[in-house]
């Protein structure tokens, strides 16, 4: 069980690193806009895909 003397500080240090990273992200403004980023990732932003003549074909998906 003496392993907790090493394991616990390591676990806490890892957790603290995560927390500090999170705090750094908040400070840099990543969390200021919570509306657009989650949707932006869903939108396909490669313009080449849309080169197909979307307006005229009559296929229904």
């Amino acid at each position: 069980m003496s392993v907790i003397y090493i394991a616990l500080p390591i676990a806490l240090a890892l957790g603290a690193a995560g927390m500090l990273a999170c705090v750094a992200c908040i400070r840099s403004g990543q969390y200021d806009d919570l509306q657009s980023p989650p949707v932006r990732i869903l939108l396909d932003d490669d313009p080449e895909i849309r080169e197909r003549p979307a307006a005229t074909d009559s296929k229904h998906h």
Binding site: M1, I4, G15, G29, D32, D33, L34, L43, D45
Partner: protein, 831 residues
């Protein structure tokens, strides 16, 4: 994917771009489809935007928009507006483009007309296909766009024009992004992150300790775990948890009860005893519970903070009435667009018809009529001439005029009203939240109980007595109770916002849940605020000719005639050959006949014969205190129409609903008393509760007096519902101010609630929702107090263990959370 959705949008009477119904659009505006399966449009603006989007191959926009559940697009594309101003630094003010290191320019501007993420997608993709525009980044939460462009290829004015064609309006930001909110938001999030880290790890350690109690744990390991857990818990209490201590100290200093008091008490006692126990190596350490408590409470606060701010933003983004820009006439008598802030006393400013006056001033050239309903509540426009005074916020209706600036900013009438608003807000007594009142009582009860427990046990065992008293103080810490109100308010605000009711201050729910007096403004609140045609005598056909002329001018009466013609069966495709606008009406030629539309004065000056039968009708109408509008064709009056400001269709129903809920309903108006009495009669307000001819100051007095008269110790709340600048001070003075759609900027700032849905009945449903949310708060209080009672009883009997406390507390929080989320705040379904 895009196609079946597009096919859907071709249906019957909706515009393919904006999705609005095309009924009501006049025939000449309709761009009818040539074949049945082709899209149709409500206006040229929409057609332009649609073709542009198709040309880029970005038709997925429509599918995305439907999927994401956005509102209809704004149909304001291709307005006639000059964009050259975007290239002048004077126009942009502080937002003028900055040069980047690679020679490109960047500017952050406000963008209006965003509805959902599909709009951001469309704009950003459109930018990719525009040469010279390197990047466009839309931020949906504060409606801004960051542009990076190459000034050699593209000018800012061209970008503005491009976005305008898509239906989005680019504007210099009204103010720099809200620094205060951003910092506060970040601070709260950081606190949550720290508290979350501490709480999660303290809990793991606590689980190890509890498991160790059952399964055997070496003493030195237990000490190590306890010490580590204590350090983590202490960190949560000291860093993120100091918010509660600050709140508690403020409450003690101002002697107002606050929910932070019992929380701080619990935290303080828990920490002190916990440290002692950890050092002495005996008894319980409470740090896991404390860290979780801090974490949960902070989350509750963050949710409420965000909801309130979101509602506030929504209101800020609404249209402003006092324009940001003005056309200044320079030395060479040309106009240049400048920011209103840069205008000085003595500057000459040109105001076009349809624009509102940017400053207070005196007419220097030109004659026109102005609508001052937003400032005074008067429903009829007045005529102005050289030498007359005009005030910022009035709307110029008929012709372009030049004014000489007399007062700007805070010296103007609108500025004075704003000061009165600030004063009224300052004088308003802050509402003590129900939770805070309970918080005050709670502290005393819990402290008394703790002392009692100590006294009961002290005779048998001194140590056990101290142990039981402290565990009582900790388990009684009202975690769920402190969480209940912010959550209930956040939920109510969020659900209200879905119904287009924006609540910026959660405390208003508490006021609205009681009964009291509710005052309505007349013009624009109970009535539409625009005249429409009430009666028509004589030839109906003349309406078509009149509408052809009136389409050329910008005036509420003209709009009324055009609308009436569009809804009648007369010919709507006539186009006037020539139109001349006078003070008292319009004259012109249409379809080969000379047509005159105006009041009696116009007919007299033009030498038009009113005739006997029409004259009689006009006289009988005048006897009722309404001035008739006459339509003459080729020198003969053939039609007489009367106009009135119609009452909103649901006004009477709403008044009776609110009455049934026990509120007294009254009306305060700046308009003529006779009109006020008539409207009061129609919507069912008692004559004794309808006041006319009131100045903004008098309105404030009535609102304040209402509060005092109904007074006594238990003051009944006063609600004011209004739209104009003349209501702003009254809105601020009332316990709850509700600004309605189309209102003036100052009234939006003064009122904590803004209703943007067109229907008045939402006021009634808001009151019902307020009652529902009060019931929700009571219910969650009941539940969490029950948990606390169980815990306290166990503590008094000395039966509580840290494990039971650690289990009880989250269970009560989860119950409160579940009840709150499932609660139907707005019971009735949206029609």
């Amino acid at each position: 994917m895009s196609n079946h959705l597009e096919a859907g949008s071709y249906e019957a009477d909706t515009c393919a771009h904006c999705g609005l119904s095309m009924r009501g659009a006049s025939a000449d505006q309709l761009n009818r489809p040539t074949a049945a399966n082709e899209p149709s449009f409500c206006c040229n603006g929409c057609q332009g935007a649609y073709e542009l989007i198709h040309g880029w191959g970005l038709t997925e926009f429509y599918a995305l928009r439907d999927q994401l559940g956005g509102d209809e697009s704004s149909a304001n594309g291709s307005r006639k507006q000059s964009f050259e101003a975007f290239d002048t630094d004077d126009f942009l003010g502080k937002a003028k483009p900055r040069e980047l290191s690679n020679g490109l320019l960047t500017a952050t501007l406000a963008i209006h007309g965003l509805h959902c993420a599909a709009c951001a997608w469309l704009i950003e993709n459109a930018a990719l296909q525009t040469p010279g525009l390197i990047e466009a980044r839309v931020r949906l939460n504060d409606h801004t766009i960051r542009l990076v462009y190459d000034s050699k290829q593209l000018k800012l004015s061209q970008i503005a024009q491009l976005l305008d064609r898509l239906g989005y309006e680019l504007a210099p930001p009204t103010h720099m992004p809200d620094e205060h909110f951003r910092n506060e938001h970040r601070r709260l999030l950081i606190q949550i992150a720290i508290a979350g880290f501490c709480a999660a790890n303290a809990m793991w350690i606590a689980i190890a300790l509890y498991a160790g109690e059952a399964g055997g744990l070496a003493a030195q390991h237990a000490v190590f775990l306890r010490m580590t857990g204590s350090v983590l818990g202490l960190a949560a209490v000291v860093f993120p948890g100091r918010t509660f201590f600050k709140g508690a100290f403020a409450a003690i200093r101002t002697r107002t009860p606050h929910m932070d008091l019992p929380v701080a008490l619990g935290l303080a006692v828990g920490s002190t005893v916990g440290i002692l126990n950890a050092i002495l190596g005996r008894g319980a350490v409470y740090f896991d519970s404390l860290a979780v408590l801090v974490f949960l409470l902070l989350i509750g606060r963050w949710i409420q903070f965000r909801q309130q701010h979101r509602a506030a933003r929504a209101v800020e983004l609404l249209l402003r009435i006092t324009p940001q820009h003005a056309n200044r006439i320079n030395a060479s008598s040309e106009t240049e667009t400048v920011l209103v802030d840069n205008l000085e006393v003595g500057d000459r400013v040109r105001v076009l018809p349809g624009e509102s006056f940017p400053v207070d001033g005196v007419i220097h050239r030109g004659k026109s009529t102005v609508d001052r309903s937003l400032l005074t509540g008067e429903s009829t426009p007045i005529t102005i001439d050289v030498g007359d005074e005009v005030l910022a916020g009035m709307v110029n209706l008929s012709r372009s005029v030049d004014i000489e600036t007399e007062a700007v900013g805070s010296d103007s009438r609108a500025g004075k009203i704003m000061q009165a608003v600030d004063q009224a807000i300052g004088e308003r007594i802050p509402i003590i939240q129900l939770a805070d009142r309970i918080g005050g009582v709670f502290v005393m009860v819990v402290t008394l109980l703790a002392v009692m427990t100590f006294l009961i046990w002290v005779s048998t065992d001194w140590l056990a007595a101290a142990e039981n008293a402290t565990s009582l103080l900790i388990v009684a810490c009202p975690c769920a109770l402190a969480l209940a109100t912010p959550l209930a308010i956040a939920i109510s605000i969020g659900r209200a916002a879905k119904r287009k009711i924006f609540v910026r201050d959660g405390a208003v729910f508490q006021q609205m849940a009681r009964t009291g007096v509710i005052w309505f403004d007349k013009t624009g609140t109970l009535t539409e605020g625009r005249p429409n045609i009430q009666e028509l005598h004589g030839e109906k056909r003349a309406l078509g000719l009149a509408a052809a002329l009136e389409r050329e001018c910008c005036h509420p009466i003209a709009d009324a005639i055009v609308t009436a013609a569009a809804h009648s069966d007369c010919d709507n495709n006539l186009v006037a050959e020539s139109v001349e606008v006078h003070d008292s009406g319009v004259t012109g030629v249409c379809g080969g006949s000379r047509v005159a539309v105006g009041n009696r004065l116009l007919m007299q000056t033009r030498g038009i014969d009113v005739g006997v039968s029409m004259g009689r009708i006009a006289e009988s109408v005048e006897a009722q205190g309404v001035s008739p509008i006459m339509i003459a064709i080729d020198g003969w009056v053939v039609t007489v129409i009367t106009l009135a400001d119609p009452i909103k269709h649901d006004a009477a129903g709403m008044v009776s609903k609110i009455r049934q809920m026990g509120w007294r309903v009254g009306m305060l108006s700046g308009d003529n008393s006779a009109v006020v009495a008539r409207v009061a009669n129609q919507v069912g307000i008692e004559p004794t509760m309808a006041y006319g001819d009131l100045s903004p100051e008098q309105k404030v007095n009535v609102v304040k007096k209402g509060a005092i008269k109904a007074g006594g110790t238990n003051k009944t709340p006063v609600i004011m519902v209004g739209d104009g600048a003349n209501d702003a001070a009254a809105l601020a003075a009332a316990d709850v101010g509700i600004a309605v759609r189309g209102g003036a900027e100052v009234s939006l700032q003064a009122a904590p609630v803004y209703v943007s849905a067109g229907e008045l009945s939402v006021v009634a449903s808001l009151i019902r929702a307020a009652r529902s949310s009060r019931l929700l708060i009571y219910t969650t209080f009941g539940v969490s107090i029950t948990y606390n009672l169980i815990a306290v009883t166990l503590a008094v009997m000395g039966q509580i263990s840290p494990l039971i406390a650690a289990i009880l507390m989250p269970i009560s929080s989860v119950t409160v959370l579940t009840i709150t989320l499932a609660w139907p705040v707005f019971l009735e379904q949206k029609k």
